[in-house]
Symmetry: C2
DNA sequence: GTCTATAGTCGGATAGAC
DNA sequence: GTCTATCCGACTATAGAC
């Protein structure tokens, strides 16, 4: 059932339609008329409830930050607790794997499809909405990932390198949202079904484990990257 | 020097401006007036040379397919030749690493920044331009990558899994273009300088090697993904 | 709070002079 | 081939009735 066709209040219907459409075609790709029509309300109620079209866009970003944050934050705080209670690389690896698989679940789950489409689009179009999403979703996750990587490497790795590796790791997951059409065609899927998700979980987990093995086994590293 | 400010013919100037601006803000994000103005010509010359704004957009996509194709194709044909001359997993690994590092160079090089921005945007917005870019750029690359992965795995892996792994592998590189702002901030860069590129090359190559080790060492795999 | 009607702006396309 | 001027449709925002 479409979230926007329910009997929720108009502002809530507008928000859901906005997340769907802004995520698909961007802020300029959809008109206020279309948004209002699909939310079964009037153009002018956008002005009334959100000030303007841009106000609705920002409200949509904030709503998504709250939704995804609620889903991802538990994984991050759990990882943080584990890190504080132990320096063991094994523990950190487990937390790292759980965060990445957790992100994969958000990315491929139909429930979060509209939200993650929106996030992907804003990442390509950094604006005010991007600030909200980066600060509340991406940054805390990348922070925790790079701390886990530092721990796995035995704190032998520069912060710069840990952060870079976090981005590269998460890229393996994000590609399925940011290049959705390419990824689906390449994998020969029309949509990501249950079997596809299982394969994806297996592949990504295996890659993460392989990379952890490598990081942990690595020498203290000689040609360090500075600044 | 800006490619569009040269004394090239108007249609060429339009094409270059189009690649820049469409890549930054998308088809609907820029007006024909703006495009013409930045190309030092008239709005009506878009109609004359390319039929319409959409025609210009498609011509830009084709031009990019030619440009990037010219850069990437040599890597792909070299890999193909190697694969045909030998079944050795070591040879395939080398080819795989070279293709991914080659893609990274395209993604982070300033010379190709506008082109790869354009590609990234169209991947998020599948349309007619996406068809051109997928067929001429992404598909040949993903094809070769998955054949190399099959070879490295000793042909023990399903086609499905090989193709999925190709997407995941290339995701590590693409993230730096598709989530450019996020990646830069996360890594603490304002732009990807020479040192950043070196670190990135090192990190991605190491990850690819680690994943290859894992694939090669893997059991023939029991819970195979079918369909 | 909700709806209609409209004001004011900007967009893509194109006719027609040169 | 190049440029000017203009048409017409679509858009956001808002005034004002209820």
């Amino acid at each position: 059932m479409n979230r926007s066709s329910s009997h929720a209040p108009p502002d809530s219907r507008l928000l859901n339609v906005a997340i769907d459409l802004f995520g698909q075609v961007g802020l300029d790709g959809v008109s206020t008329r279309e948004l209002a029509s699909l939310a079964n309300t009037q153009m002018s109620s956008i002005g009334y409830h959100f000030g303007s079209k841009v106000g609705l866009h920002l409200a949509a970003a904030q709503h998504i930050a709250d939704t995804i944050g609620a889903r991802v934050r538990p994984l991050l705080v759990a990882a943080r607790e584990l890190r504080k209670s132990s320096d063991d690389a094994e523990v950190a690896r487990l937390a790292l794997r759980q965060i990445l698989i957790g992100m994969l679940n958000v990315i491929v789950t139909e429930e979060f499809a509209a939200d993650s489409r929106f996030v992907a689009r804003e990442q390509a179009n950094p604006g005010a909405a991007f600030e909200i999403l980066f600060r509340e979703v991406m940054e805390p996750m990348l922070d925790e990932l790079s701390r886990l990587i530092a721990c796995i490497s035995g704190n032998q790795m520069s912060t710069q390198e840990c952060r870079t590796r976090s981005v590269v790791l998460i890229g393996q997951v994000l590609v399925f949202r940011m290049a959705h059409a390419t990824a689906l065609r390449a994998a020969g899927w029309s949509s990501i079904d249950e079997g596809g998700v299982r394969l994806l979980r297996h592949v990504i987990d295996e890659h993460v484990v392989a990379i952890c093995d490598r990081i942990e086994a690595a020498e203290p590293a000689q040609p360090k990257y500075i600044k």
